[in-house]
């Protein structure tokens, strides 16, 4: 059985925070750019109804799929019809015990939450000539958030199950989601995450020149974690447990 402990997983999740914060700061250097999300306005020939954002996301995932990204259990594609990897990728025993891992997929919720966040972190308006950079940074931010949510969902749930298998087995068999959620939730851990993320956003921008850089409000990111990242992770933990091998 692979060596996974709640401490090692929690620390890995903590390590993802910098990456998410950096990617959101990078995206916020571009304006909201509403046209890039408009259907049929990609500017590409023969791209049908797709938006520029959707095209970029799909093209990134086409490339990533060929390189093997989605072989990792915590990676999820936002778009469909992706090729198999063009290279061999070896994933050892991850310690996860769930047949239907890829069914645990919160990309739609993450995308909706992210689009809702954008007008709160970006200056409203249009960057002429920078639509490409804008959607490029959308994709990187979304991938970082998705990795955090799905990694947390799968591995935290597995660790908690192992710590208390009999209790969880009973709740899973009874499909008792409310009690599972109560058992999974540790308010003090959530508060520590929130406090840490707030500080990281502030420190990452401590030496910024505000005349050229848009500064992310730590409150926005804290709210995004509290309203989306943490609840989606817990929803994913429940989904994992309901699908876990008993």
């Amino acid at each position: 059985m692979a060596e996974i402990t709640l401490l090692s997983i929690a620390e890995r999740l903590e390590g993802f925070e910098e990456t998410i914060v950096f990617k959101l700061i990078d995206r916020a250097q571009y304006k909201t750019n509403p046209p890039v999300y408009k259907q049929g306005k990609s500017g590409f020939k023969n791209a049908g109804d797709a938006s520029l954002f959707e095209l970029r996301l799909h093209n990134q995932e086409l490339m990533d799929a060929r390189f093997g990204r989605f072989c990792a259990p915590e990676e999820r594609a936002f778009t469909g019809r992706l090729p198999k990897p063009h290279r061999g990728v070896t994933i050892g025993d991850t310690g996860l015990r769930c047949k239907n891992l890829k069914a645990i997929n919160f990309t739609a919720e993450i995308l909706a939450a992210y689009k809702d966040l954008l007008p709160r972190i970006c200056v409203h308006g249009i960057d002429k000539g920078n639509f490409g950079s804008s959607v490029e940074n959308d994709v990187y931010a979304l991938q970082a958030i998705s990795r955090r949510v799905h990694y947390g969902a799968l591995y935290v749930a597995e660790c908690k199950f192992r710590d208390n298998p009999e209790k969880y087995r009973g709740l899973i068999k009874a499909k008792n989601v409310d009690e599972m959620l109560a058992l999974l939730t540790r308010k003090e851990v959530e508060d520590a995450i929130i406090a840490r993320v707030r500080e990281k956003v502030a420190y990452a921008q401590a030496r910024v020149n505000r005349r050229v850089r848009t500064v992310l409000d730590p409150d926005c990111i804290v709210r995004f974690y509290r309203e989306h990242v943490i609840p989606l992770t817990k929803k994913g933990e429940i989904a994992y447990l309901l699908n876990r091998n008993l």
Copy 2:
């Protein structure tokens, strides 16, 4: 004539610093992973002699070219045989006055300097199952560094020319590189950049958990700026001036 001033350009360059620092920190979360740079070891079928890193860089640039990245005067591709954009990209008058802009290309020097930097910022060794993420982060870091160097080269040179056109015209006609370099160099500006970069590297990692994150040594990044980013930018300024319309 487009509105470009030395102050606005210097501030733009300052704004790129966070992005470079963030990308290097992200790359440093993976080990050196020497096999990804080995020719013929990409694991891809029919990829010939390419390394995994080269394949990733080329595939990223194929996608970026289709999206129009290289229409921006400061963007340079590291690899060749790229398609034309698949969408219309409008770049207004940039204010640059140089026919042969794309000939000013320091990607080879940037790549060599970057590969030399890696063993100083990454833990030595191999991340099983993370070769894809490792080269992905290489590409993002290289693109951020390249944008900084080429943007600085072109726009700083143009601003300095405009501030003192008669003097520069004489030096350009005489191909007097040494005196041009002396005239371009402002030691106090370089020292300010170095001091600022050092602080940014430190602050961006102020709240890091060192058990899970590899911490970038500010000295390494300062040295990279002093030995490569700044000198290559100045080399690019000279190249721009020698090619400028007189």
